[in-house]
């Protein structure tokens, strides 16, 4: 006789989402740089900001309160509503 088990997982079915098309150029676009608050991440992002500006992009800087927790929903909304492109650097 077959065995019937109960599913221990969350049984979620993820909604399929399509990626935004990649812009041909960053010129004239607003690029969000999300600092996750990891030590010295700002050093890297400062360099990145300089290069993005040189390509003609506008840069907006954002910062998570702590790298150990997901970005607050209000911050995510702020980035989505103000930027066409976002760069989030992972830790380490």
């Amino acid at each position: 006789m077959s065995t019937v088990l109960l599913d221990p997982t969350n049984e979620r079915r993820l909604a399929a989402m399509t990626r935004c098309s990649r812009p041909a150029s960053l010129r004239g676009l607003t690029v969000g740089l999300l600092d996750i608050s990891k030590a010295r991440g700002d050093v890297f992002l400062n360099q990145l900001e300089q290069r993005l500006i040189e390509t003609g992009a506008t840069v907006k800087r954002f910062r998570k309160p702590t790298f150990t927790k997901p970005a607050p929903v209000d911050l995510r909304h702020e980035i989505a509503s103000q930027c066409q492109v976002v760069i989030e650097a992972l830790a380490d």
């Binding site: 077959s2 599913d7 221990p8 969350n10 608050s37 150990t68 997901p70």
Partner: protein, 478 residues
């Protein structure tokens, strides 16, 4: 209680041959059937009582749905619903319920026998057969040709060790460990931020090897880690080798026979091993936190399978950790701490408290990096032989911690980046300060371990405070 099939109106009795009281009341049953149309359900012998046209409750569904605990049980049914019942034999009760003279031939009263539907050997099977409707989880059918254990590995449900197959019968039995409804939401579990129900907790507790009496402890531990203060998301996602350490307090730890003594952090005790394991399985299976995915640990540690133990309260010279954190000594509680693997503190020569405090300070100073301060908390699991050195000198818990703290102050010039030929360290602008190794309250003291051995254990923590994880103490509910 709702029944699986409509009951006939009038008088209904549930009996079994193996019950002397049921045998005794047969003459009364004959009279009731003749005068009022009694319907008889028999649990064991299909022909008992002879001549009364019994209906065999072969699958015990009638008994189960009527919640029969004792036979004989006499019921009055009106419009398909039970309006009255009496259990065992009581002449006045049977007379009152039936309105019929049941005679004086039998004793006034005789207790009944246990119903087969509550037989401990059958109850869990019946609960699965008739009570399974309360479970909402998806059913996964494992074919005859499949091996249950391998099938669960293949589906990614395990922590790398075999798990107990979560059948309906086992999960329903696990749910008897709590008064909470299977659909109750316990917490939102990271990283997928999914609502976890009591049912899903029970399923994973079965898989971990828990018994039902452990379930409230698993629930409490889950509630504790799924708080913003503890921040299980970060504890899971970090590259550091930490996981939730579950420290249990209260009389319930003894009731479920947790280990707080010899080999307290080791193998061999079911409650210690499986409560912590269930917590981690829930985070994996419900929360979606799997190694190599959101769990980014560089090394991890074996405690991420399970790291759970009880404090030795009865042998302790001090108040317990939970009492220190504001609960009563009679309250069962878990304290969760984001910790790495344990390390040993050896001092077999110290006989005076100052010397021993020096040893603790020297060992604690090296945690993570001797030059990193205030960023990490720690748990000190004081072994009984070390605790006795302090207690004999009259040092209470506060004194012990204060003395260790006092020995862990360092000049910033020793800690600053580059000092001692080590790049790691505190920023240069802090070098004029004297800094403690631990923030205030950053050392947790627990008494546990075997009675022989001048050893203790340190568990180093993870990023502390608002930016990381803070210890959380949670009472254990029913």
């Amino acid at each position: 209680m709702a029944t699986s099939r409509p009951l006939p109106d009038g008088l209904v009795v549930i009996v079994k041959r193996e019950c002397a009281t049921c045998e005794m009341v047969v003459p009364v049953l004959e009279r009731l059937q003749a005068e009022a149309g009694l319907t008889v359900y028999t649990q064991d012998d299909p022909g008992f009582p002879a001549g009364l046209h019994p209906i065999h409750d072969a699958d015990l569904s009638v008994s189960w749905h009527l919640d029969i605990e004792t036979v004989p049980t006499l019921l009055r049914i009106v419009d398909g619903r039970e309006v009255d019942r009496t259990i065992g034999w009581s002449r006045p009760a049977w007379q009152a319920l039936t309105g019929i003279d049941v005679g004086n031939d039998l004793p006034v009263m005789r207790p009944g026998c246990g119903s087969l539907s509550v037989d401990p050997n059958l109850e869990h099977e019946l609960r699965a057969r008739f009570g399974g409707g309360v479970l909402r989880a998806r059913r996964v059918e494992i074919a005859d040709a499949e091996d249950d254990m391998e099938a669960m590995f293949d589906r990614g449900w395990t922590d790398g060790l075999p798990v107990v197959p979560p059948t309906e019968a086992r999960v329903l039995r696990m749910l008897t460990g709590t008064t909470r409804a299977p659909g109750d939401v316990v917490a939102i579990v990271p990283p997928d931020l999914v609502e976890v129900t009591i049912e899903k907790v029970a399923i994973n507790a079965v898989m971990a090897g828990c018994t039902p009496e452990y379930l409230p402890w698993v629930i409490a531990a889950l509630e504790a880690v799924c708080t913003d203060q503890f921040n299980i998301h970060g504890v899971l996602a970090t590259t550091m080798p930490v996981g939730p350490v579950v420290i249990c307090n209260g009389p319930g730890t003894r009731a479920i026979r947790m280990n707080s003594g010899m080999n307290v952090l080791g193998q061999g005790n079911r409650a210690n091993m499986t409560i912590g394991r269930a917590l981690q399985l829930i985070i994996r299976n419900v929360g979606g936190g799997r190694p190599g995915e959101v769990d980014r640990a560089t090394h991890g540690n074996p405690g991420k399978l399970s790291f759970c133990f009880a404090e030795d309260e009865l042998g302790s010279p001090w108040t317990s950790l939970a009492v220190e954190r504001g609960l009563s000594a009679e309250t069962d509680a878990v304290t969760v701490f984001a910790g790495e693997g344990p390390r040993c503190v050896v001092d077999q020569l110290a006989r005076d408290p100052d010397s021993l405090a020096n040893t603790f300070a020297a060992c604690l100073r090296t945690l993570h990096n001797p030059k990193l301060v205030m960023a990490f908390d720690a748990v000190v699991i004081m072994g009984p032989e070390h605790a006795r050195v302090f207690a004999d000198a009259g040092w209470d818990r506060e004194r012990v911690l204060a003395e260790i703290h006092a020995r862990l102050q360092s000049p910033g010039t020793d800690l600053v980046r580059g000092a001692g030929g080590i790049a790691e360290g505190i920023p240069a602008h802090l070098e004029h300060l004297t800094l403690p190794k631990f923030r205030p309250g950053g050392l947790l003291l627990v008494h546990a371990g075997g009675g022989a051995g001048l050893f203790s254990v340190i568990i180093g923590g993870w990023a502390n405070g608002e930016v990381g994880s803070q210890p959380v103490t949670q009472p254990v509910g029913s």
